[in-house]
C-alpha cells in the first residue's frame, strides 16, 4: 500500500532517512534500513577530510532541534570500507555530498558515481559552515551551475539538489530544474538560529549558530513545499519536522512524492520509520486510499 516509486527507484515506502542523521557509516545505515526506512541517505560526503565544528553540535528542546555539526566527513577518498560495507544493503541508498566550489562538486560526484547510489542528493543547503553548503544554494545562478556540473558526471543516476529554505527558494528550484535537476528536496535546516546560555552569556553551539529542524519548522516547510509543487515540473521531496504518519501525509498532500525524516529520530527513536509507516497505512485503510500517488499534491 505504501510502495511507490520515485524517479524509477522502487521504494517499499516513501520514508527516507535524511542526510546527516545516523548515516555516518555503513553499519548504522544498514541498521536504519532494517528498522523500516524506504531508503537511507549517507551523511554528506565531502571533498576532503573535515572534522566539523566543535561541540556542542546538536541540541534539542521542545519542538526545536538545532545542529551545527558542520559537515564532518572522512572525505570521499577515505570511504572505501564504507562503500564495501554498504554492498547488499536492503533498501535504496542515497548519497549526499557537498563541496567548496562548483568544480569540486563534480569531483566529489565523479568519485561517488562508480559506487552506484540510487540518487545523488546535492547538499547546497547546509547553514553550518562558512565555505560549503548553503552558500551554493542561495543564488539561483550558482545553484544551477552546481547542478549542471554534477549532471555532467552523474550518468544515469538522478540528481536532486537539496535546498536551503531561503526566501528565494522557488527561484533557486526553478533554476536547478532548468539546469537538469531530476527532483528538488526542500529543505535543509532553517535560519540558522542561536541559543544563548544566560548564566554564562555564551552561545551554546560551538559554531555560535545552528540550523533549526524538528517539528517547530514543519508548517514553514509545508507551505514552501506546497508552493514548490506548483512551481516546478519535477518531483518534490519534503524534509523538515516530520515525525508522524499524519505529518508525512500532510507533506505528501502539499506536493511531496517522498518525505525524509531526520530529527524525528530524536522524538520517536530510530524506528520512527516503521512507526510512521504503520500510522500512514492505518490512515489509508480507514480512508480507503490505495496508493501514495493518489495523495501527492491532493491538497491543491
Amino acid at each position: 500500500m505504501l510502495a511507490t516509486d520515485f524517479l524509477g527507484i522502487h521504494l517499499k515506502n516513501p520514508l527516507v532517512l535524511a542526510a546527516g542523521l545516523l548515516g555516518t557509516n555503513a553499519s548504522i545505515l544498514k541498521r536504519v534500513a532494517a528498522s523500516g526506512a524506504g531508503a537511507v541517505t549517507m551523511k554528506s560526503i565531502g571533498p576532503k577530510p573535515r572534522a566539523g565544528n566543535p561541540n556542542p553540535t546538536i541540541i534539542s528542546f521542545g519542538d526545536v532541534v538545532m545542529n551545527a555539526v558542520g559537515l564532518p566527513s572522512p572525505g570521499y577518498m577515505n570511504l572505501d570500507r564504507e562503500w564495501e560495507g554498504l554492498k547488499g544493503i536492503k533498501v535504496p541508498l542515497f548519497a549526499s555530498f557537498y563541496a567548496g566550489s562548483v568544480g569540486e562538486f563534480a569531483e566529489v560526484a565523479e568519485a561517488i558515481v562508480p559506487h552506484k547510489p540510487a540518487l545523488l542528493d546535492v547538499n547546497i543547503g547546509c547553514p553550518n559552515t562558512k565555505s560549503h553548503g548553503a552558500i551554493f544554494g542561495k543564488d539561483p545562478k550558482v545553484a544551477a551551475k552546481v547542478v549542471t556540473a554534477v549532471k555532467e558526471v552523474s550518468g544515469k543516476i538522478p540528481v536532486m539538489p537539496k535546498l536551503p529554505p531561503s526566501d528565494n527558494a522557488l527561484e533557486v528550484a526553478k533554476a536547478c530544474v532548468d539546469a537538469g535537476a531530476d527532483a528538488i528536496a526542500g529543505f535543509n535546516t532553517w535560519g540558522p538560529g542561536m541559543v544563548i546560555d544566560i548564566n554564562t552569556r555564551k552561545k551554546v553551539l560551538g559554531f555560535g549558530t545552528g540550523g533549526v529542524s524538528g517539528p517547530a519548522i514543519r508548517p514553514l516547510m509545508v507551505k514552501k513545499i506546497y508552493d514548490l509543487y506548483e512551481a516546478v515540473d519535477v518531483p518534490v521531496v519534503a524534509v523538515g519536522g516530520i515525525t508522524t504518519g499524519r505529518d508525512a501525509i500532510e507533506a505528501i498532500m502539499a506536493g511531496a512524492s517522498m518525505v525524509e525524516i531526520g530529527s524525528g529520530t530524536i522524538y520517536r527513536g530510530m524506528d520512527v520509520f516503521a512507526k510512521v509507516a504503520a500510522e500512514m497505512e492505518s490512515w489509508m485503510r480507514e480512508n480507503d486510499v490505495k496508493s501514495i500517488k493518489e495523495l501527492v499534491g491532493s491538497a491543491h
Partner: protein
C-alpha cells in the same frame, strides 16, 4: 518532549583527586544509573562525554583542550550538563568483580557506591599518585605499574587471578581500551559475563548523529551503550579501530 540542551550549574566544589584528575561537584542532582554519562559543556570551549561519578559529580582527567579548560574552573563557575545518557550498568547475578583503570576508576566508583551487589574491586594506575576514590570500593585490590601502591601488576593480571579463585556472576569495567581488550580475553576464558564501559567520539550523545556507531552492528555507544556486553564486543571494531572527529578510521 526531550530536552537536550546543556543546563549551566555552578560548581560547588572542586576536589583534586590526583595531579591529573579532578572531581567537580555541581549544584544539581541527577537521577542516574551508574555507568551513565553526561555531556559536559565547558562554556565557550567544547562539550565532552563524561561518566557520572555521582549524582552531582564528574571526575575528569586533564588530557587535552576541553579537560584542561575544565580543570581551570573554580568553585562558583558554571558548567553545562545535559543527560544523563546511555544505558548504565545492568548486571546479572549478585557477585560482581569491578575493574577500573586510570580515570576509568571514576564511573566504577559510582557503581561501587550505588550498586546493590556484592562487589570485589580492582583499581589500577601507573603510580600511587594516580589512584583515587579508594574508600568507595569494597574488597579493594590496588594495582600500580610501578608498584608504588598495592600490587605491582596490571589490573588484568589481578582480575585473572581472582576470577580463577572465586566464582563471579559478572565483571564490570572501565579503563583504557587496551586494558579492556585483555580483560575481554580473561573474562571470556573464565566464562564470566562482562560489562565494559566503552568510548567512541561523540557529538550528539543521544543516538541520532551516528558518529559513535560501531562496526558491524551500528550499536551506538552513546545510546545503546556506553556499557557493552560480550555480544556487542565480540567481532566488533572494539579493540581494533575507532573513528575520529571527522569519521575517519584510526587503528588502535
Amino acid at each position: 518532549m526531550p530536552t537536550n540542551l546543556p543546563q549551566t550549574y555552578r560548581i560547588t566544589d572542586v576536589i583534586e583527586q590526583t595531579p591529573t584528575v579532578k572531581t567537580f561537584e555541581f549544584a544539581h542532582e541527577l537521577d542516574f544509573i551508574p555507568g551513565q554519562f553526561v555531556m559536559v559543556w565547558v562554556p565557550g570551549v567544547d562539550e565532552i562525554p563524561v561518566s557520572l561519578s555521582g549524582p552531582s559529580q564528574i571526575t575528569v582527567k586533564n588530557v587535552g583542550e576541553a579537560t584542561a579548560a575544565l580543570h581551570k574552573l573554580k568553585k562558583g563557575n558554571f558548567i553545562g550538563i545535559r543527560g544523563p545518557y546511555g544505558n548504565g550498568f545492568a548486571l546479572p547475578g549478585y557477585k560482581v568483580l569491578i575493574v577500573g583503570g586510570g580515570v576509568g576508576i571514576a564511573p566504577m566508583k559510582a557503581l561501587a557506591q550505588y550498586g546493590d551487589k556484592d562487589f570485589t574491586s580492582i583499581i589500577g594506575a601507573q603510580t600511587s599518585d594516580e589512584i583515587f576514590f579508594r574508600n568507595y570500593f569494597p574488597g579493594l585490590h590496588v594495582c600500580t605499574d610501578d608498584g608504588s601502591e598495592g600490587e605491582k601488576a596490571f589490573t588484568t593480571v589481578v582480575a585473572d587471578r581472582l576470577l580463577g579463585e572465586q566464582k563471579f556472576d559478572a565483571v564490570a569495567a572501565c579503563g583504557p581500551e587496551i586494558m579492556l581488550k585483555f580483560l575481554y580475553q580473561i573474562a571470556d576464558k573464565h566464562n564470566v559475563p562482562m560489562f565494559f564501559s566503552m568510548e567512541r567520539w561523540m557529538k550528539c550523545g543521544i543516538g541520532i548523529c551516528g558518529h559513535c556507531a560501531i562496526d558491524p552492528t551500528g550499536w551506538r555507544v552513546c545510546k545503546d551503550g556506553p556499557v557493552a556486553d560480550k555480544a556487542i564486543l565480540e567481532n566488533s571494531e572494539f579493540f581494533k579501530y575507532k573513528r575520529d572527529m571527522a569519521g575517519t578510521e584510526v587503528k588502535l
